[in-house]
C-alpha cells in the first residue's frame, strides 16, 4: 500500500508543462452580456441580418435556460456578466508567408511543439490556426479550392458563403439544444467552416489548433463541417492553453452534417490547462459536438483524447438518420489532480440498419473524478440496428473516482444493443515487472496507460497518435527523483 501511495504521489505531483502566456496585443469589448453586446459582435464582424437574428434568438432562449446540473461534476458558480465576449488581435493580419507572422505567435507554436512550417512541409496538413477568436492564418486553401473544398474561418464563410451557412448552421445543434450551445450560438466569435463537395475525397487531414489566450476571455468557437454525397474528410482538432490563475470558460459547438454515403472523421486531442495541483485555475470545457448522418450509408466517427481542462462536459454524438448509417465514438479521457470529467456520447438510431460503436477508456489519478455518460437510443423505426459499447475505467491509486452511466433505450425487437464495462487498477505487479526490467515507475505508468488506450489511439491519424501518446504519458507523469 506504501507503493500505491508513492505512485499516487508521483503521478499527482505533476505540473502542467505547456503553461505560458504570450503577449501580443488584443482588442476587447467590455465585460458582460446583453443584446447590445451581441449586436456589437455581429456588427464588428459585419454579419448579414440572418446571423444577428440567429444570435439574438439563441440569446433569448439562453436567458430562459438553467445551467445543466445533471452531470457528475462540481461546477463553481460562473458569473456570465464577468466575461469578455469578444476579443481580436489588433490588426487583422493577412500574411503571405510565416515571416510576416507575429514572432510571438510562432514562438508560441514552437513551445507547443507545433511548428507550422514543418507541419506544412512534412505532414501536408492544412492549418487553420485560431488564436483567441479570430483566425490568423490559413494555409493550403488554394490546393483545397481546386477541388472545390471550402476550408476557412467561420467569419470568412459568413461573408463568402452565406447561403451555405444559412442552410446548415444549427442543423445538428439547434440554438435551443442546451444552455452552453445557446450561449455559444449567441456570442461565438469565430471558428472553422469546412465544406466538401459531392464526390470529393479531401486529400489531406484538415486541422485546427485552438488556443485560449487573452486573460479573462471566454472562448466560443463554432465549427461547421458539411460533407456532400460520397465525400470524405478527416478533421483534426488539437489544443493546449497557456497557464492561467483564473478559470476560463470554453463553450464550443461543433456540427457535422454527412449526406448520402459521406464519411467524416473528427479527431480531437484536448489539452487545455487543467489547473494546478491544488485544483486552482484551469479551463471549464463545456462542449457540444454533434453529427447528423442525414444521408443513407453515411458515417461519422468521433475520436477524442481528453487530457486537459479542470472540468470537461462533453458528449460528441451521432444522430443516425439515414438508413444504414454508422456512428462511432472512441474516447480516452484522463483526469488527474482535481480534474473532473463527465464525458461520453449519444447515439440516436433513427434510420433502419443503423450501427454504432462506442469505445470509452477512462483513466483517473489523483483526487480526480472521471465519468462516462452514454445514451444509446434506438427508435421504433430503426429496425435491425446494432450498438456495441465498451466502457473501461483504469484507476491509478485509491483516491480517484470512476463512474459509468450508460442509458439504453431500445424501441424495437430486431435491434441488438451490447454493453460491456470493466474497471481495473494499474497493478503493483505490472509496475514491479517493468521496474525489474530497468524501466522506471514513471515510464512504466506511461507504457501501461498507452497500452490500455491503444485501441482508441490507433484510430487517430498517425501524426496525431504520436502526439497523443506523449500527452498521455506527460499528463500522468510524476516527479520521480
Amino acid at each position: 500500500m506504501e507503493e500505491q501511495d508513492k505512485i499516487l504521489h508521483e503521478v499527482t505531483s505533476q505540473e502542467y508543462k505547456f503553461g505560458f502566456v504570450s503577449d501580443f496585443e488584443s482588442e476587447s469589448i467590455p465585460k458582460g452580456l446583453n443584446e447590445d453586446v451581441i449586436r456589437v459582435i455581429s456588427a464588428k464582424k459585419n454579419e448579414p441580418e440572418f446571423m444577428l437574428q440567429f444570435r439574438l434568438d439563441a440569446y433569448r432562449k439562453w436567458l430562459e435556460m438553467p445551467m445543466p446540473d445533471w452531470a457528475y461534476l462540481k461546477i463553481p458558480p460562473i458569473d456570465f456578466q464577468d466575461i469578455i465576449y469578444y476579443s481580436a488581435p489588433k490588426t487583422k493580419p493577412q500574411y503571405e508567408s510565416l515571416d510576416e507572422v507575429d514572432p510571438d505567435l510562432i514562438e508560441t507554436f514552437n513551445k507547443l511543439g507545433i511548428p507550422l512550417e514543418e507541419q506544412k512541409v512534412l505532414a501536408g496538413v492544412a492549418v487553420d490556426a485560431v488564436i483567441d477568436s479570430v483566425s490568423v492564418k490559413t494555409t493550403f486553401k488554394e490546393t483545397l479550392a481546386e477541388k472545390g473544398i471550402i476550408f476557412c474561418s467561420f467569419s470568412e464563410a459568413v461573408q463568402e458563403h452565406p447561403d451555405l451557412i444559412k442552410k446548415y448552421l444549427g442543423m445538428a445543434v439547434p440554438t435551443s439544444d442546451n444552455f452552453f450551445a445557446a450561449l455559444n450560438s449567441a456570442v461565438f466569435s469565430d471558428g472553422s467552416f469546412c465544406y466538401i463537395p459531392k464526390g470529393v475525397r479531401c486529400p489531406m487531414e484538415l486541422s485546427t489548433y485552438f488556443r485560449i489566450n487573452a486573460a479573462g476571455t471566454g472562448q466560443f468557437e463554432r465549427t461547421l463541417i458539411v460533407a456532400e454525397d460520397e465525400s470524405y474528410v478527416s478533421y483534426l482538432e488539437g489544443c493546449t492553453a497557456p497557464m492561467r490563475d483564473e478559470n476560463q470558460l470554453h463553450a464550443a459547438v461543433v456540427e457535422i452534417i454527412a449526406l448520402d454515403r459521406a464519411e467524416v472523421k473528427y479527431s480531437t486531442v484536448q489539452n487545455w490547462y487543467p489547473g494546478n495541483k491544488e485544483g486552482k485555475g484551469g479551463v471549464y470545457n463545456f462542449v457540444t459536438k454533434r453529427g447528423i448522418c442525414r444521408g443513407v450509408s453515411s458515417k461519422i466517427s468521433w475520436t477524442q483524447v481528453e487530457t486537459g481542462s479542470a472540468i470537461t462536459w462533453k458528449y460528441p454524438s451521432c444522430i443516425l438518420m439515414g438508413d444504414n448509417s454508422v456512428g462511432e465514438f472512441n474516447s480516452v479521457a484522463v483526469t488527474n489532480n482535481h480534474q473532473q470529467a463527465d464525458t461520453g456520447t449519444k447515439m440516436v438510431h433513427i434510420g433502419k440498419n443503423t450501427k454504432s460503436t462506442i469505445i470509452s477508456k477512462g483513466i483517473s489519478a489523483g483526487v480526480s473524478n472521471n465519468a462516462y455518460r452514454g445514451l444509446v437510443k434506438v427508435l421504433p423505426g430503426a429496425v435491425n440496428s446494432r450498438n456495441f459499447s465498451q466502457c473501461d475505467s483504469l484507476l491509478l491509486g485509491s483516491t480517484c473516482g470512476a463512474h459509468t452511466f450508460p442509458y439504453i433505450e431500445v424501441g424495437n425487437k430486431s435491434s441488438v444493443v451490447e454493453h460491456e464495462a470493466t474497471t481495473s487498477k494499474i497493478g503493483e505487479d505490472q509496475i514491479f515487472y517493468c521496474n525489474q526490467r530497468g524501466i522506471s515507475t514513471e515510464d512504466a505508468i506511461g507504457m501501461i496507460v498507452n497500452g490500455y488506450a491503444k485501441e482508441v489511439l490507433n484510430k487517430l491519424p498517425m501524426e496525431f497518435a504520436v502526439e497523443a501518446q506523449k500527452l498521455l504519458a506527460i499528463s500522468l507523469e510524476g516527479s520521480v527523483g
Binding site: E2, E428, Q430, Y433, N435, R437, G438, S440, M447, Y452
Partner: protein, 249 residues
C-alpha cells in the same frame, strides 16, 4: 558477487524469511529448493526490490554495494534479473517495445547509446533463436494470452537479451514440456560465464540434470536448513522434505 547476511523479512506483519545466510561467488550456480510456502519467491522478490516487504534485519551486499538501498530499477540496471514464477500480462504493450525499452534503459545506465533499429532486431532474432521463441510472440502484448510454457520461455528470452550478472530464476521449469525444459536449460547454460551467477529456484531435481548447480540449498520455513552439492537434490527427490525435517530440526 552476492552476500546475504541474516536476512529477516516480513509481509503484512508475518515473518517469512527468518535469517537467511547465503554467499554466491561469480560464476556459480546455486539451486534453492524447498516446500511450497517456504519463502523461495519471497527471497527472489526481496533481492529484486519489490516494495511491499518489510526488512526486519540483515543485509545484502551485491558487488560491494548495499543492494537493499537501491530501487528495483537500479538493481535491474546493475545486472540483477528475476525470472518471475508468474509473469504478469501488460495488455496493449507489444513485447518488442517492452524489451526494446528495457534493453535501452540498461544501456543508458551504462552510458551507452540506444541500439539502432537494425542492431536491436538482429539481437532479438539471435536471442529468440536461442530459446526457440515463436517469432510471432514478440509482436503480441507482454505475456498476454501466452501459454504457461511461453511465458517461461519469454522470461529466459528477456534474460538472454539483457545478459544479467545475477539471474534469479523462480520456477522457470514448472509448466515446461520436456523439450522446452531442455531448450530453456540450454539457453541458461549458453549464458554461463565466469562473471555471471545464477540462482535457480525449483521443485524438481530434473532441471538440475540440465543446469548443474554448484550448490543446492533447502529453504524450509524461512530458513536455509541444509546446503550441499548437487547430490542433495537427488537425495531430496528420493526421501522428500520429511527426511530433512526430522533430520535437521
Amino acid at each position: 558477487m552476492l552476500t546475504i547476511k541474516n536476512l529477516r523479512v516480513a509481509i503484512e506483519g508475518k515473518e517469512i524469511l527468518k535469517g537467511i545466510n547465503l554467499e554466491i561467488k561469480a560464476g556459480e550456480v546455486h539451486a534453492i529448493m524447498g516446500p511450497n510456502g517456504s519463502g523461495k519467491s519471497t527471497l527472489g522478490n526481496v533481492l529484486a526490490g519489490k516494495e511491499e516487504y518489510e526488512i526486519l534485519d540483515g543485509e545484502v551486499i551485491y558487488e560491494g554495494q548495499d543492494l537493499l538501498d537501491l530501487s528495483a530499477e537500479d538493481r535491474a540496471r546493475m545486472g540483477v534479473f528475476l525470472g518471475f514464477q508468474y509473469p504478469v500480462e501488460i495488455p496493449g504493450v507489444p513485447m518488442v517495445n517492452f524489451i526494446k525499452t528495457s534493453v535501452n534503459e540498461m544501456r543508458k545506465f551504462k552510458g551507452l547509446e540506444p541500439l539502432t533499429a537494425g542492431e536491436f532486431l538482429k539481437l532479438m532474432r539471435e536471442k529468440k533463436e536461442l530459446v526457440h521463441l515463436d517469432s510471432q510472440l514478440t509482436n503480441r502484448s507482454v505475456n498476454e494470452g501466452f501459454s504457461g510454457g511461453e511465458k517461461k520461455k519469454n522470461e529466459i528470452f528477456q534474460m538472454a537479451m539483457l545478459e544479467p550478472k545475477l539471474a534469479i530464476l523462480d520456477e522457470t521449469d514448472s509448466g515446461l514440456d520436456i523439450d522446452a525444459l531442455r531448450i530453456v536449460s540450454d539457453g541458461v547454460n549458453a549464458l554461463k560465464h565466469p562473471e555471471r551467477s545464477t540462482i535457480v529456484i525449483t521443485h524438481y531435481q530434473r532441471l538440475l540434470d540440465y543446469i548443474v548447480p554448484d550448490f543446492v540449498h533447502v529453504l524450509y520455513q524461512g530458513q536455509i536448513v541444509k546446503s550441499a552439492g548437487k547430490e542433495l537434490a537427488l537425495e531430496l527427490e528420493e526421501k522428500g522434505y520429511d527426511w530433512l525435517k526430522n533430520h535437521s530440526l
